[in-house]
């Protein structure tokens, strides 16, 4: 036990010491900012759930069923999130951390190393889900006027759920590391990515949310109610957790304790199995992960053709950076699942537009089509922000410790950043334009909305890419173990907030003129001079905002990298 505590100490001390760094003011400011945002989200979640449950309560009989169905769906979602997050964290903490060789060189058993790492991974994966499940279940407690026993039992149940997910993930990762070929631990991530895509598609197909607004799809209310009340499998841990919380909510102490006992014994049994497995298999898997990785796919070469020649139009140094960037990006298997995931989300995004039941709504279809098209600009920009946060913002940090090569090379920092900018700007413009044009076709929007959408997105892409590259350079972390995670830093957070502000400002600026122009077209009227002036000023100001978003962060990024 002492050894495990000693192994945990560096992590705890690092967390404490990070508050005692030179830049004390800065770290406290970050804590304050994150704290404030957390409280806002926490309060928001509470208000939303309280109102939803309050509404459910007002619906006689059916309301309670809905509330319970919502709870079981939430617990299932939390469990899936915990499982996925634990697998990713376990992989990283158990096999990829840079301090593992040092720990293995010390006189400690691999079981102790496993347990200490597993505890850290469990904490990292679970704290946020636990924190954000609190307002949800607090609102349940308040609506159902539950006693203190509910809150205690809920906490115990949620902790057991975290432990079950963490222990299951630990066992899965331990086996994965033995089965997979040496040095290919990261390959697990690819498999996970594909599994995630399949689950997402499956969930999408099974839920068919579009049916909810189609009254013809329900044969009878009884059938619908029956499907809502179908019990989950009694063999699933999520069923025990849900039943325990439900029982605590209804004051059924015996049933609650039984389910808590089931979840608790399952958690401790899984932890025991994982520690036994770790004793036997952890070192073997770790040792395999340390050997030189083989290339997963052999390079395909065609006689007389090289894909690099497609970039011959670029200046020499730009081409060198482009080729390097493309190669390092696609050869890094950690990027692949993210790409799969992104592709799946885009497919779902477009699928949603194709199944919108526009004809079955009481509002005139033409209004809705064009309203959705306008909102789609914002949505597409949010998708772009998500992609940029994951792939573009870390682009400078991805140079990692090898950044000295760029610094020592006869290339100015400005050129380096602009090369990065164009490397990401071009593919993202194509992607976003395809996204907007295809969704507009699916919505059958007016030519005016089509033109407006494509132009606005054409301005949004460089603005968001400029902010991602510029702020990514300002907040670059070349020493991060996983540079892709820099987006979770303060800089990444700031980038996302600024992107949301930019998108909101531009959409607000365009909303008024778009409404006037659209209505004038619809009614066959001319727009007034005042409206023309207003529209021109609004569009110009939106354009100016986009320009500012490109150049100012790029300037800041260049300045920051130059004076490092």
């Amino acid at each position: 036990m002492n050894t495990i505590l000693s192994l945990l100490r560096p992590r705890i001390l690092s967390a404490i010491n990070s508050l005692r760094t030179d830049n004390k003011r800065n770290s406290w400011m970050r804590i304050f900012m994150y704290g404030a945002i957390g409280i806002v989200f926490w309060t928001g979640t509470f208000i939303i759930f309280y109102r939803v449950l309050f509404y459910f309560q007002s619906v006689q009989d059916f309301g309670s069923i809905l509330a319970m169905k919502l709870m079981s769906m939430l617990i299932m979602t939390f469990f899936m999130l915990l499982l996925f997050s634990n697998i990713i964290n376990c992989l990283s903490h158990l096999y990829l951390s840079q301090d593992l060789p040092l720990l293995y060189s010390m006189p400690v058993s691999s079981k102790d190393i496993f347990i200490s790492r597993w505890l850290i991974s469990t904490f990292d994966s679970s704290w946020m889900i636990v924190a954000f499940s609190l307002p949800v279940f607090l609102s349940y407690g308040l609506i159902y006027k539950a006693g203190i026993i509910f809150y205690v039992m809920f906490l115990v149940a949620i902790i057991f759920m975290c432990l079950i997910a963490a222990a299951l993930s630990g066992i899965l990762v331990l086996f994965g590391a033995i089965i997979l070929p040496a040095g290919r631990i990261r390959t697990i991530l690819i498999i996970l990515g594909v599994i995630m895509v399949l689950i997402l598609i499956l969930v999408l197909r099974l839920t068919r949310p579009e049916q909810l607004v189609n009254p013809d799809s329900f044969a009878s209310v009884v059938l619908y109610l029956n499907s809502m009340q179908t019990p989950n499998s009694p063999l699933l841990p999520t069923t025990w957790i849900t039943d325990a919380i439900k029982a605590a909510l209804n004051g059924e102490v015996k049933s609650c304790l039984l389910n808590i006992a089931l979840a608790g014994t399952c958690a401790f049994m899984l932890i025991f199995i994982s520690s036994i497995t770790a004793q036997a298999a952890y070192f073997m898997g770790f040792s395999k992960s340390q050997t030189t990785p083989q290339r997963l796919f052999a390079p395909i070469k065609y006689k007389g053709f090289s894909w690099e020649s497609l970039l011959n139009f670029l200046p020499r140094e730009s081409k060198a950076f482009a080729v390097k960037e493309i190669r390092t990006f696609f050869r890094d298997s950690a990027q692949w699942p993210q790409l799969f995931l992104m592709a799946a989300l885009i497919a779902i995004y477009l699928y949603n537009f194709s199944v919108l039941p526009l004809d079955n709504t009481p509002i005139k279809a033409i209004y809705l089509q064009n309203l959705f098209s306008f909102l789609n600009i914002g949505l597409a920009a949010f998708v772009l922000t998500a992609i940029a946060a994951r792939f573009v913002f870390p682009a400078v940090s991805m140079e990692g410790e090898a950044f000295w090569i760029v610094q020592a090379a006869p290339v100015s920092t400005k050129n380096f950043l602009w090369i990065k900018f164009f490397l990401y700007d071009l593919p993202l413009i194509i992607l976003e334009e395809v996204l907007v044009v295809v969704s507009n076709f699916l919505l059958q929007v007016s030519p005016f909305m089509m033109v407006l959408s494509t132009i606005t997105i054409f301005c949004f892409v460089p603005a968001i890419v400029g902010m991602a590259i510029g702020l990514g350079a300002v907040y670059a972390d070349f020493k991060s173990e996983n540079p892709a995670q820099v987006v979770t830093s303060f800089g990444g957070f700031l980038f996302m907030v600024l992107c949301f502000c930019l998108i909101a400002f531009v959409i607000i600026l365009e909303a008024g003129p778009v409404y006037y122009i659209f209505m004038a077209n619809l009614r066959g009227q001319n727009i007034s001079l005042l409206q023309i002036i207003w529209s021109t000023v609004s569009f110009c100001f939106a354009f100016f905002l986009c320009l500012l978003a490109i150049f100012y962060p790029m300037y800041l990024g260049e300045k920051k990298l130059r004076i490092r």
């Binding site: 030179d22 030189t292 990785p293 290339r295 020499r316 140094e317 081409k319 060198a320 080729v323 390097k324 190669r327 390092t328 050869r331 890094d332 990692g400 410790e401 090898a402 000295w404 090569i405 610094q407 020592a408 090379a409 006869p410 290339v411 100015s412 130059r562 004076i563 490092r564």
Partner: protein, 244 residues
């Protein structure tokens, strides 16, 4: 070829380099020695354009690095102390990347890259990803890439770290040959025997300040030692701490 004027780097909490001034002529091998944390790597990083100085000037081949960094860097071959590279590129791809940045002629690149990879015993590994290379192989690749564009100035931080004896011998020979062909070489090292063997002049830095510089004989004279090894000279000067 290399002129440092009153070069200072202040990290806020420590002054890593304090008003450092020195000159290195063409064809000269200048050894930069000092204890851990003396400011050697900071000086090298300042010269390579990786760090910006707090004050002072760095003149490389007559060009002020603050005003014309890109032109200055074109003359430099830079080898850092830690071998961080793009792990997902192959050795040959990395050399091509380097050649493109340093504008090495396309028609001569392939032959040059092949010669260097063969010279550094990396030819069989040319198409393997760098992540599969050992520390010594990475170090050899960095040196090969630094020589690819025929630099007029070579700045090397700890050149022999991670190299096997055969590679150390080979690198020494290459450096001597380069100096004979008028390439200026600035080496920072802990290995005093290498400085003794290779360098025409040696500078001794401690706590960011240049304590002494000159040929080995001049240093012995400064340290008031007769027949002595560089190690004794080094220890004496560091102990006294007040020679310049």
């Amino acid at each position: 070829m290399i002129e440092l004027h009153e070069l200072t780097k202040d990290y806020g909490t420590t002054i890593a380099v304090n008003k450092l001034s020195l000159n290195v002529a063409a064809g000269e091998i200048y050894g930069f020695i000092g204890p851990n944390g003396a400011g050697k790597t900071t000086t090298i990083r300042l010269m390579g354009g990786i760090l910006a100085p707090t004050s002072g000037n760095i003149i490389i081949g007559g060009l002020d690095m603050a005003k014309k960094p890109v032109e200055g860097k074109k003359m430099i071959g830079f080898v850092p102390d830690r071998s961080f590279l793009y792990e997902k590129l192959t050795g040959m791809e990395f050399l091509r990347f380097s050649a493109d940045l340093y504008d090495v002629k396309r028609d001569t690149f392939s032959q040059k890259a092949q010669n260097l990879l063969q010279q550094f015993a990396l030819w069989d590994w040319a198409d393997e990803l760098i992540e599969a290379y050992s520390h010594g192989m990475k170090q050899r690749l960095i040196i090969a890439s630094a020589l690819l564009h025929d630099p007029r100035i070579l700045i090397i931080d700890e050149p022999m770290v991670g190299l096997d004896p055969a590679a150390v011998h080979m690198v020494k020979d290459i450096l001597k040959e380069l100096a004979a062909n008028q390439t200026t070489i600035f080496i920072s090292t802990h290995t005093l025997s290498i400085a003794e063997d290779l360098c025409h002049r040696i500078g001794l830095i401690h706590k960011g300040t240049l304590l002494a510089q000159g040929t080995l004989d001049e240093l012995k004279h400064i340290a008031k030692l007769g027949e002595a090894k560089l190690e004794e000279v080094f220890l004496t000067i560091i102990k006294e701490n007040t020679f310049i």
